[in-house]
Amino acid sequence: MVTVYVPRDTTACALGADAVAAAIAAEAASRNIDIELVRNGSRGLFWLETLVEVETPAGRMAYGPVNASDVAGLFDAGFYEGKQDSTLSWGPTEDIPYLKNQLRVNFARAGIIDPLSIDAYKAHGGYAGLTCALAMEAQVIVDEVKASGLRGRGGAAFPAGIKWQTVLDTPSEQKYIVCNADEGDSGTFADRLLMEADPFQLIEGMTIAGLGVGATQGYIYLRSEYPKAHDVLKTALANAYGAGYLGSDIAGSGKRFDLEVRLGAGAYICGEETSLLDSLEGKRGLVRAKPPLPAIVGLFGKPTVINNVLTLATVSAIFEKGADFYKGLGTGRSLGTLPMQLAGNIKRGGIVELAFGSTLRELMEDFGGGTASGRPMKAVQVGGPLGAYLPESEWDIVLDYEAFAAAKAMLGHGGVVVFDDSVDMLEQARFAMEFCAVESCGKCTPCRIGSIRGVEVIDKIRGSDGDERQRDDNLILLEELCDTMEFGSLCAMGGLTPFPVRSAVKHFPEDFGA
């Protein structure tokens, strides 16, 4: 019996993985070869999907990118015995430089195990962290998170332990753990892959959070654009209940934690934490003014920890491996690892998890291999639709929160969207305003109206057609509008939309008729 792995994540399936799996099963049957087909998550090497792996005595061997039409040839070349005769052979998966040169903590199990199998999860270190946490007092759990240096991975990079302390210190009969799985930023898919490839890591992290702050109910707020993640989570939750890792007696401890997944409904603003809470309560996703902090008055008015998927998942690793291990990685005040996501016009797109401290250029060139189109790179947007566009002169920037803040840019959730030299940066600035207009919650005027005005002003710059006066007047107007949005908006939607706009004007003036 040979074990063959074919990924089941969204991107692999979008590239035909289901057809590859079916072809492998059919071909094996017709050749009387006994195989066990496992649908693993993905390793996150999306440029190699569909990446088929075969278990051999010498480790797992990789073949990719495989299309259904390649399958018969792979059998002819003896791939099921781990032979390396096919043009699609990559040798041992772990030796592929893209993977080998990463430091995987969050994605250590991704693509290796069947995401729905608790046994496989436990065989790879899963639930060891919960076992430790169950033996700790709540305050010790929170202290451990503080000691790890973990900061929120959803964008604002707020220290997780400090948020948890506030919830622990706020007395209440009911408290909640909410996972922000709204992952709305273009160019990001780390949350999605984590949920599709290793969902128990998140479930375990949320359970530890519940123990840490005294919350017995958790919700995962998942964007509706992620149907596969939804299916995986539903089954994983059922399996965790079935195995006694959720419910009224977690792992025989007598302690309770219940967890449910809830779907968003296609609103980017519902990734903002207070809007998300309103949405979970069944309302329109309007941003709430802070204070009060959600940690004190959160979901249904109760103290609530709200953290990103990666933040909560990392907690399991911290309790498995220790806070010292985690804080030993990284640089300055950015500790641990950050899963970066290479997207857009890039030759080798995927997840690249590294300790903080490498540079953007290393990421895009060494891992990414340049553009997919083969044309020169022109601009890179880091940190989602509210992040700045960076020109080549800034690509040596170090991947850490403070370095990005100093450059008036944002590391955010770690998305890196690459554009080649055919991009028109005026169009990108216009899109930033248009996106804000479409997705604004509507509560404040600078955001709601300012973004619509922004589109109009940029259209006038485009239409100035050599009329320098018209262009310059409108560039000044655009700058004033950006000021109004930056300083007059309640949340970062309106407040940060000026960043991509201004960076486009500043770094690429030629696209604005200069």
Partner: protein, 160 residues
């Protein structure tokens, strides 16, 4: 489906779900999943079951891009408009879709076979342009690939 049948289906959903905390979004999802859209004449029943005003329920339905108050075409095609897909030709793809199907984004074809909608990121940003047809997401969708997908849809369970 007649209005009565629709209302009975909605009532059944309400009976099963109305006591869950924050029930409105899960209920709306379930109604849309069952009926394909959220009929305006079901709003009063939903409002009553949850002790909300009709305006509140209507406000929620219209706030979220995902919910629809009108039936869609037989197939829903969503085209990603976000930055990572823009970087690999999403705009040209959307233009191609509009001309080849003779429909603007947000509308349904005259034969009611296809509804074309914008979507802002499907999490497939390393292999765009991304398109979702029904429940399935497709990667690296060039105009040619899109035409092939449409031809496939016609053969396998497309227009009657």
């Amino acid at each position: 489906m007649s209005t009565n049948v629709q209302q009975a289906a909605v009532q059944e959903i309400l009976d099963g779900m109305k006591t869950m905390p924050g029930a409105l979004l899960p209920i709306l999802h379930e109604v849309q999943h069952t009926l394909g859209f959220i009929p305006a004449d079901c709003v009063p029943a939903i409002a009553e079951a949850l002790n909300l005003s009709r305006a509140e329920v209507h406000g929620v339905i219209s706030f979220y891009h995902h919910f629809r108050s009108e039936p869609a075409g037989k197939h829903v095609v969503q085209i990603c408009r976000a930055e990572a897909c823009q970087a690999v030709g999403a705009k040209a793809l959307e233009a191609h879709v509009q001309t080849s199907l003779d429909v603007s984004t947000g509308d349904t074809t005259a034969d009611r076979n296809l509804t074309v909608e914008p979507v802002y990121c499907l999490g497939n940003c390393a292999c765009g342009p991304s398109v979702q047809i029904g429940e399935d997401i497709y990667a690296r969708v060039t105009p040619e690939r899109f035409d092939a997908l449409m031809a496939d849809l016609d053969i396998n369970g497309g227009a009657e």
